[in-house]
Amino acid sequence: MTDLVVCSRCVLPASFPNISFDRDGVCCFCAKPETTHQQAFDARQRQEFEQIIHQNQGKFSYDALCCYSGGKDSTYMLKMMVRDLSLSVLAFTLDNGFITGQSKQNIVKVVDLLEVDHLFYKPARAFMTRMYREAVFGDLNKTRGNYSTRISDVCLSCISVVNTSAARLALQHRIPMIFAGFTPGQIPRAVIKNNHRFYRQTYDQHKEHMRERLGTRADQYLDLPDDPFEIYQMSPYLVYEKSEAFILDEIRELGWIHPEGLDGCTSNCALNVVGNLCHEKKYGFHPYALELSKLIRKGLLTRTDAMHKLTLQVEERAVEDTLVQLGVSMGDIQALARK
């Protein structure tokens, strides 16, 4: 973290946009953490989540597509989908070129053990590298509105390809639910109906800008067909809240091993580490600070653990390997102008 002044309850720093502190050092977001009818909303959300599963189970070859990154959250989610929710699952991993070797081993081991069908999809490296560079050093995401408080430029561009690819796959195979391992700090609601149409609309709106920056192949990775098939995006961690300690215990029995050489905020992707560094340099705060602060307020993470995650140093060699693949240097990152 670049700032020494941090909220005394969560981990939001003084450099976070629009923040203020009271005399006890508590930030304005901790002072009013929840909306007025949050409990009623949470109860309704859980009911809707379970209802959607009930309505869609057994209707098609697969009940659900699992966006499986190989990280701890999606690993436990996959286990939950198979063993607790008894869903017929197609697991899908977008290989962005930076999934660690250990993570790939974890993925293969877990899908075999849980006996689920699984697909690796690796978009062309040249396109993905161009996209990441444009996201960090160019203005690729300028039309995407205010996202910087919650996600890095790199992650936003990558997750866009993941979401679009998952939606395309779900449409092709007629899979009515897409599960993603977003935490309560990463996504606002547990069920989003036809989110893929929103992606399509958003892309359509900014198509020219994306094509200018990424070439016409952008359509292949970021556009979606017009299809009346209905898909629900499901985020189970918003209705079944689990602590990190619980998740790690649960996935250990599947043989999941934490990869080395990553920072405290990722458990599968080496690029995320560089994305976090770039974000801190550009914006002056860590892109995970908001999410972790929400988890602290929900009692799912201690402040000490969150601080540890944000400040954990990364092996320099691991970062260097990623930078070489991206074709940038640490000097390029250091030179990023503060927004």
Partner: protein, 88 residues
């Protein structure tokens, strides 16, 4: 006293100027689509609608999430005024 649509406009603006906007001085249009003006992306819209439901005790049905009913901050505020019974 019953809150007015203008009260809800202010409440929504306050939320956006909280943990959403990178630059609090950014001008937010009240009568234009936040998506089309590039203020929010699809996540941001879902997040804002979720805030409105949680804050004002509403359950917004899918069929109401349209440009006509939710296409701007003023439209959202009007929607809350019409569908919310309890005062702020």
């Amino acid at each position: 006293m019953q809150a007015t649509a203008e009260d809800y406009v202010q409440c929504i603006l306050e939320y956006l100027k909280g943990a959403v906007l990178l630059d609090p001085a950014e001008e937010i249009p009240l009568d234009k689509s936040l998506l089309e003006t590039g203020i929010l992306d699809s996540y941001g819209i879902v997040d804002l609608l979720t805030f409105i439901e949680g804050e004002f005790g509403l359950a917004i049905p899918d069929e109401d999430i349209t440009r006509e009913k939710m296409g701007s901050i003023r439209k959202m505020a009007k929607y809350v005024e019409l569908h919310r019974m309890a005062p702020v």
